[in-house]
Symmetry: C2
Subunit: 383 residues, 2 copies
């Protein structure tokens, strides 16, 4: 009958001198929570940790004002049950308006799953494979290196050094930002990156939602000859009509979804955006979107729209999504080898080979095997 | 060259023993902000006030963590300019995820408009009519009485007393909740209300987004014979396909939009929900949706989708929306005669006649003419 005895809530900076086409990250923050349980193992209480994925800010106020108090009052039936916790956290919340609170619930959901897997003494990927995937788990997960940000003074040569660094660390597929410079400059950047990564299928580009339709199509026309891995988030994430029209002009693979934070929003993307199951990618980030309990609802929607879990490569580059990818058979996961430290990346000593990574065999999400991350989580939430 | 010298941020309860079909309101809160200026009139600094509309919680953390600091640092060009303030407040926010932060920005936007109108020494409805409507302002605004909530032990006779109270105060059109009881009980409640308000065109019903398609249609079939004023928010606010399918079964007026908080979400409703400009109503609440700066973007979208401002009757029952309705020619405004005190309602001494209300002639939004409200705003933000 495990019980949560204490909930701790902290904010840490994940600021960085990078920028995408929409925002700069110099003031970015992340919430960290710790759920302390009454289960003692090796003389210490089991603790579940959660944090919020990058791109959205820490949600300390929301956690303190609504979601932690509700979780503290919740009756979880003597189990660490993330689904029951979810219902308790979302009680008396009106429908619609899926932003910010989806991050707060996602932080707590991550910590609940970490704790649940630790109580069960299994890795999270194993727990969810057994629970929802007939026990089948992937041995390796496809990962790509997300980078290629804009920052002051960055030249083409530096972009190439960055890309070479990803290849040196075992990545085959790399991603760079577009839309923060004029089209001709972005094309020069793309060609510089391709000199390093080789074929177009090794390079993805990401506009972070900054294009209007005309610009999105102009970029599409210019990108076509390269045969890129994907063309990501051309327009506003809610402008499904733009995405659908762009698909009539660009027949290469496209990707979007990182800024849709509920199954209702995901369903609208599937209904209206003209995304093509035979080539396109869905990037919903479970940590930003009310956690795995809600993400499972998204996965369950896919078949009726002709999509499968193999279409999903979540945004965020966190080990939570990596566990989900392995345990529920997603198409892969994002990775940030050079930014958002220490939240991105994998367990220490896990190597990437040909853009594939293996999962650690450690109870929970695996934070304890990544020394810089677990140190940050423990330091932030130590009383 | 007016300057904001201090920003104060407080939380007040607006709890009530009522419930709709989705949530109970016993723990509902509201944020209150005060923008203190260096403009002194009658010996006192002009202060702009803002608060958040009901149904969404106070957003104290978000205000403190991001939006007040950004507004404090903003260069408004020596004016109280809500549009420039908006850009500063939304800097480094990613697209998508329109919830919670839309409330925080809406609270500050309301206070900015209140202060801007006070500095100009005109009512807000006059300021915005001159700015955006060629000076044309409505003399009276249609208002309806929103009530008919569920609460423990409420019987049909009490619902009738409540409705009679609205008629006694000059309302012709009243609204009640449905979906919190089985269909047959709701029909009995509707018939009881109709005994008081008379014709079906005097009664609106509101399901607060709780129905699945089958239930929405079943209610639609049962409601048809009554010829109601409107059938509101049958399904999830983001389920545009449900709304479109329901429109094929229910040809009476429908209303929705209170839980869509951006022009992108509003545009999706207009694109995909099958709403009919000749009879349906759009209820976007400017206070919950990034304020009037964003609401103006919504209004500007309407014509290309065949709608006009006359289709708009905002949710929220606050004087901010009342000023917008008068100044920009909306179809009307919600009113809560009996709940959410002191935030709803009108200036003291303003009478409702045949569901029409006049606007006060007082600088700003008019809070100073509603004694219980201005006292609450001042008490909450007094240093």
């Amino acid at each position: 009958m495990p019980v949560i005895t204490d909930i701790r809530n902290a904010v840490v900076p994940i600021s960085s001198e990078i920028a995408n086409a929409y925002i700069d990250f110099s003031k970015m923050t992340a919430s960290v929570v710790a759920l302390v349980s009454d289960v003692v193992r090796d003389g210490k209480p089991l603790i579940g940790y959660g944090f919020n994925s990058n791109g959205r800010y820490a949600c300390k106020g929301l956690l303190e004002e609504r979601f932690i108090p509700r979780l503290q009052r919740a009756d979880l039936g003597g189990e660490i049950d993330p689904s029951r916790a979810w219902d308790a956290m979302m009680a008396n919340e009106k429908p619609g308006g899926h932003g910010e609170r989806s991050v707060a619930v996602g932080v707590l959901d991550m910590a609940l799953w970490d704790l649940a897997a630790k109580v069960a003494d299994v890795p999270l990927w194993r727990l969810i494979a057994d629970k929802w995937n007939g026990g089948a788990a992937k041995d390796t997960v496809f990962v790509y290196a997300a980078g290629g940000y804009y920052y002051p003074g960055k030249a083409l040569a530096e972009l190439q050094v960055e890309m070479q660094g990803y290849l040196d660390r075992g990545y085959r597929v790399c991603k760079m930002k577009i839309g923060g410079a004029p089209l001709d400059q972005d094309i020069a950047r793309i060609e510089a990156a391709l000199e390093v990564v080789g074929e177009g299928r090794n390079l993805a580009v990401d506009a972070n939602g900054c294009f209007d339709l005309q610009t999105a199509i102009a970029y599409g026309e210019a990108l076509k000859p390269y045969g890129l891995f994907w063309y990501e988030e051309a327009g506003d994430p809610l402008d499904y009509a733009l995405q659908a029209e762009l698909a009539r002009h660009y027949d290469g693979p496209m990707a979007t979804g990182e800024n849709l934070f509920s199954h209702q929003d995901a369903r609208n993307l599937l209904r209206y955006s003209g995304m093509r199951a035979d080539r396109d990618w869905l990037q919903f980030d479970p940590a930003l979107s009310y956690g795995l309990v809600e993400y499972k609802r998204v996965l369950d929607l896919l078949p009726e729209h002709g999509f499968s879990r193999a279409n999903c490569i979540p945004h965020g580059g966190h080990q939570m999504a990596l566990n989900i990818a392995a345990g529920l058979g997603l198409g892969g996961n994002e990775s940030y080898p050079d930014v958002f430290h220490p939240f991105g990346g994998f367990a220490d000593g896990i190597a990437v080979e040909d853009s594939q990574v293996t999962l650690p065999d450690c109870p929970g999400i695996g934070f304890e095997l990544k020394s810089a991350l677990i140190e940050t989580l423990r330091d932030a939430t130590r009383t």
